[in-house]
């Protein structure tokens, strides 16, 4: 075995506090080390060439580079050794910069530490084995989960790029949150007017297969080859027959159904089409309110339906789709008003949330776009907006900012003034966060042109006095307590993750944070990738986001998928587990603990049952290796022997 050791000075970054010459010298003493040297910048082109030349000249078969973190340059050096015709897995890195030279001042101790760490890397590399990727075919179809603006954008971009798209939307219509908005900031564009055409595009695009009112039941497989089971939830209306005429909705005698689209601001019918621009524009029965389901008789809709589309016996249906990549664009939820008892949320009818107010402002909303407060239908004169309801409030467990509330409050305050010129709006805020293009100007317009009064402070309590609501809060700029007599109070309630976000994440095997938002691969440089290859993120499922950010991410995720699908075959990462069937005793504990279902039982010709790794599914965590009692299953490149070699090398340090 001929190991070459290359110690990097990293200019003065390493050489300043580590005696690199001494480290190189010490390494020469290790049996099996054929060459040991230092270089000022090993990652530079001449530095890499030095390695390549040395491999050829000294016939090196293993290489250790002691430099910065492998998280930084492992790939660089792997490619370098590969250029010298060495298998890329014959490279190990010792991190003597981030873990040594940058965190210790004592040169002597740093040098000793570096010697140990490089020796450990040498010990490991001697146990390395050449590994080879295998290639596999991929299905060039993409699944987009979520039909909000981010998911629609992703679906449309993928379809434009020539891909077949499966779009799954949980609710009866695509459109998401944006379809519920009245106007968008800072341009005061009509939201549905700009979104509607996109929705129609989705419906008409031949490459997009839309599953509305459907959810992801199960995801099997791996990048390039997923098998997705989709649950088409029962709508009790045959959508092939339904023309969306709306006759059923008109005649339905159950008039008190909860209106999910309008966030319960007014009731709807038990059979309904969520909103006029819905895509697909089809009716659906809510069995929680339908008299036929509750009392067993009614059947008005069935009688009246001109196409006989009503089917009370409809059941959920499971369908399977094969795809090669998945874009998750499941969006967000909002904290319910009942979470704010100190504001009388849920108790006082005129304390509503921002999205509910959006529906009141909207011409196709329950009030036809006339601002009427829910309790008595009167036009409010004084409207109070409270920002950060739940957001940035550790006491409710939400330390983060909900991103867009400052902006929509300004917008709603402006619209209020437009609708009711005599009205006066107040905004209680913590900070005004308006960093987007044209955003700050917009919030200033609200204050300067529309006379919205911004009060910097929190609201402690809301209580009724007669028909009014008294909003009591602090004005921290004046240092006084203030009370505002309001007719209507709008809470900018916190953005939270979907209640079933964690469940979906587990099906997709992607990570999510404490708040249920999905975690991207790198916060700066890989914003739409996840750590599960083949699964991408778009929009607010990753964290609160406004429309332009969501749309950008939708396009970004689509471009990632298009890039992925530009190849005809994919290369697998060979750092996966491998079972030695001669050692395996078939206890199958690895099968039980594998988080990816990547290990299965296999019967050998002699009838013995052993474990077998499905290489393409294995993610390389190594839980199986630490589970296996007899060492039969080994995670390649992090085998027991490789790690033990490091431990023994560590122990030989003194």
């Amino acid at each position: 075995m001929r190991v070459g050791v290359f110690i990097c000075h990293c200019g003065n970054n390493i050489a300043g506090t580590v005696d690199v010459q001494k480290v190189a010298e010490e390494m020469r003493k290790i049996p099996g080390v054929a060459y040991s040297t230092t270089y000022v910048y090993t990652c530079s082109e001449p530095g890499q060439n030095e390695i390549i030349e040395a491999i050829k000249k000294y016939k090196l078969d293993r290489v250790v580079v002691a430099a910065c973190s492998p998280r930084m340059h492992e790939l660089t050096f792997r490619k370098a050794v590969e250029k010298a015709s060495l298998n890329r897995y014959f490279l190990e890195m010792a991190n003597i910069r981030e873990h040594i030279s940058w965190v210790g001042d004592d040169k002597e101790l740093n040098t000793q530490k570096a010697i140990d760490v490089v020796r450990m890397a040498v010990a490991k590399v001697m146990n390395n084995k050449p590994l080879f990727s295998s290639s596999f075919k991929l299905t060039k179809r993409v699944l987009v989960i979520g039909g909000g603006v981010a998911g629609m954008q992703a679906a449309l971009d993928c379809a434009d790029g020539g891909l077949d798209v499966v779009l799954v939307e949980k609710s009866p219509s695509i459109g998401g949150m944006m379809a519920r908005l009245d106007k968008t900031f800072p341009t005061i564009d009509c939201s549905i007017c700009i979104l509607g055409p996109k929705m129609v595009d989705v419906a008409q695009n031949e490459r997009i297969k839309l599953y509305a009112y459907s959810e992801i039941e199960d995801v099997k497989g791996y990048i390039g080859n997923y098998e997705v089971t989709i649950r088409k939830k029962a709508t009790y209306v045959d959508w092939n027959k339904c023309t969306g005429c709306g006759l059923c909705m008109e005649k339905c005698p159950s008039k008190n159904a909860y209106d999910y689209f309008n966030f319960g601001i007014a009731p709807t019918r038990a059979i309904n089409i969520p909103f006029p621009q819905a895509i697909p524009k089809k009716a659906k029965i809510d069995p929680n309110y339908c008299r036929y389901f509750l009392k067993g008789k009614c059947g008005v809709c069935a009688k009246i339906c001109p196409t006989k589309a009503i089917d009370y016996d409809m059941k959920d249906e499971l369908v399977k789709e094969d795809v090669g990549a998945i874009i998750v664009a499941t969006g967000y939820s909002l904290m319910g008003v009942e979470n704010f008892p100190e504001y009388g949320g849920g108790k006082y009818k005129d304390v509503i949330t921002g999205i509910q107010y959006e529906r009141i402002l909207n011409a196709s909303g329950p009030t036809g776009g006339h601002i009427k407060r829910p309790s008595d239908g009167k036009e409010p004169e004084t409207v109070v907006f409270i920002s950060c309801c739940g957001s940035r409030d550790k006491s409710v467990g939400i330390p983060y900012c909900s991103n867009f509330c400052c902006m929509y409050i300004a917008k709603q305050a402006i619209l209020t003034k437009d609708h009711l010129p005599k009205s006066q709006s107040y905004v209680f805020y913590m900070d005004i966060r308006a960093p987007g293009k044209g955003y700050d100007e917009f919030t200033r317009r609200a204050q300067e042109e529309y006379g919205v009064r911004y009060i910097r402070g929190r609201v402690s309590k809301i209580y009724p006095r007669g028909e009014k609501l008294i909003v009591r809060g602090a004005d921290t700029l004046l240092g006084i307590q203030v009370e505002v007599e309001a007719d209507l109070v709008v809470l900018a309630n916190a953005v939270i993750s979907n209640p079933d976000a964690a469940k979906l994440a587990e099906k997709l095997r992607i990570s999510y944070d404490t708040f249920g938002f999905y975690v991207e691969s790198h916060p700066k440089l890989r914003p739409v990738e996840t750590n599960t290859s083949g699964v991408f993120l778009a929009g607010a499922c990753q964290g609160p986001k406004d429309i332009p950010a969501s749309v950008s991410q939708g396009s970004a995720a689509a471009s990632k998928v298009l890039a992925l699908f530009s190849k005809d075959v994919l290369e697998s990462d060979p750092q996966v587990s491998y079972v030695n069937p001669n050692v395996c005793v078939g206890c199958m504990k690895c099968v039980k603990t594998c988080p990816f279902g990547a290990i299965k039982e296999e019967e050998l010709r002699d009838g013995r049952k052993v474990a077998k790794v499905i290489e393409t599914v294995c993610a390389g965590c190594g839980i199986c290796t630490s589970t296996c009692p007899c060492g039969a299953i080994q995670l390649q490149h992090f085998t027991d022997n490789q790690i033990l070699a490091e431990v023994y090398a560590f122990a030989s340090g003194k």
């Binding site: 008892p341 100190e342 009388g344 108790k347 209580y463 009724p464």
Partner: protein, 309 residues
């Protein structure tokens, strides 16, 4: 049914200014078969003064009493006074969280406290351990004219990490207990507003203004009586009502009763035993308007207890 035994830590106020709270609560517990036992040789919890002087002292005073309860072999202590409750609960939680504190405190007190007791307020016991039907069963009188504003005060539910009971900002336990006893409760927005507490000693006017708001809101909410669960709240709202009227130019005549007194009344305990006559603002109209409950649920054999004297 509920035959649990609880330790009962009355605390100083209930032995003096709030005797009617003590008496009425004991009567109510007796009728509900809630067995209570006072720890022997209990001492003052330290209330607000202790923790403003020395946190260790505050913790030790609480822990000493909890240790006594532990010795009795009981795992729940009822502390009806919210201040006592908070002090005991805080001592318990602090010692549970921080082994250092536990060590220090156990060094100062006679016998170590081993964290085996949960302090609870009287409200919590009646809300969580007594089924509402059981309260309803005991009702023998109704008071149709009565409309009560349930006033919890600052600390019985706050801070939530100490109280670990009910909603901190919009508690409902007292509402529900009174409702199950057939007493009409109004929607009262100032349930947890501050009455001014002990500030009355230093700056009477502040208490008067704060308590005024509470009483005014009770009146605006349509209540003709305020129910409380804290001796200090009771004192500020009842004893100082005259002061408030003078300062604010109002003419409040709203009786302020402990919720246990109200329960006692409808359970048929004599007003005298319940200390109704000890109230400053006259509450006699309440006793006068009592009448036999029409719809009596269960418990037929129980008759209203005879009036004393």
């Amino acid at each position: 049914m509920n035959n649990r035994r609880y330790a009962y830590y009355s605390g100083c106020s209930l032995e003096s200014t709030a005797r009617e709270y003590n008496e009425s609560l004991k009567e109510v517990f007796r009728l509900l078969n809630i067995e209570i036992k006072e720890p022997e040789d209990w001492s003052c919890c330290g209330s607000s003064p202790a923790h403003t002087v020395d946190p260790l002292l505050a913790c030790a005073l609480g822990a000493r009493n909890l240790a006594l309860v532990e010795k009795m072999g009981l795992d729940v202590v009822i502390a009806p006074c919210p201040s006592c409750f908070t002090v005991l609960k805080r001592a318990h939680l602090k010692m549970k969280k921080d082994p250092e504190v536990r060590k220090k405190v156990n060094e100062v007190i006679d016998e170590p406290y081993n964290l085996k007791v949960s302090p609870k307020s009287a409200l919590q016991i009646l809300y969580e351990d007594v089924p509402p039907e059981k309260i309803s069963e005991m009702v023998v009188y109704e008071i149709p004219e009565l409309k009560v504003a349930p006033y919890y005060g600052c600390i019985v539910t706050r801070p939530p990490e100490v109280a670990e009971f009910d909603d901190a900002e919009n508690p409902i336990s007292m509402d529900r207990i009174l409702e199950s006893a057939g007493i009409e409760v109004c929607d009262f927005p100032f349930k947890t507003e501050c009455c001014g507490a002990a500030f009355g000693i230093a700056k009477k006017e502040i208490v008067n203004r704060l308590s005024y708001k509470v009483i005014q809101m009770a009146k605006d909410s349509g209540a003709n009586c305020i129910a409380v669960c804290c001796p200090l709240c009771q004192q500020n709202l009842d004893l100082r009502q005259g002061q408030i009227n003078r300062l604010m130019g109002t003419n409040f005549q709203i009786p302020v009763l402990y919720f246990s007194q109200l329960l006692g009344l409808v359970f048929g305990i004599s007003p005298k035993r319940l200390g109704i006559d000890k109230l400053v603002v006259d509450a006699s109209w309440i006793t006068r308007s009592m009448r036999k409950a029409e719809k009596k649920v269960g418990n037929k054999e129980k008759e209203p207890e005879a009036e004393e004297e």
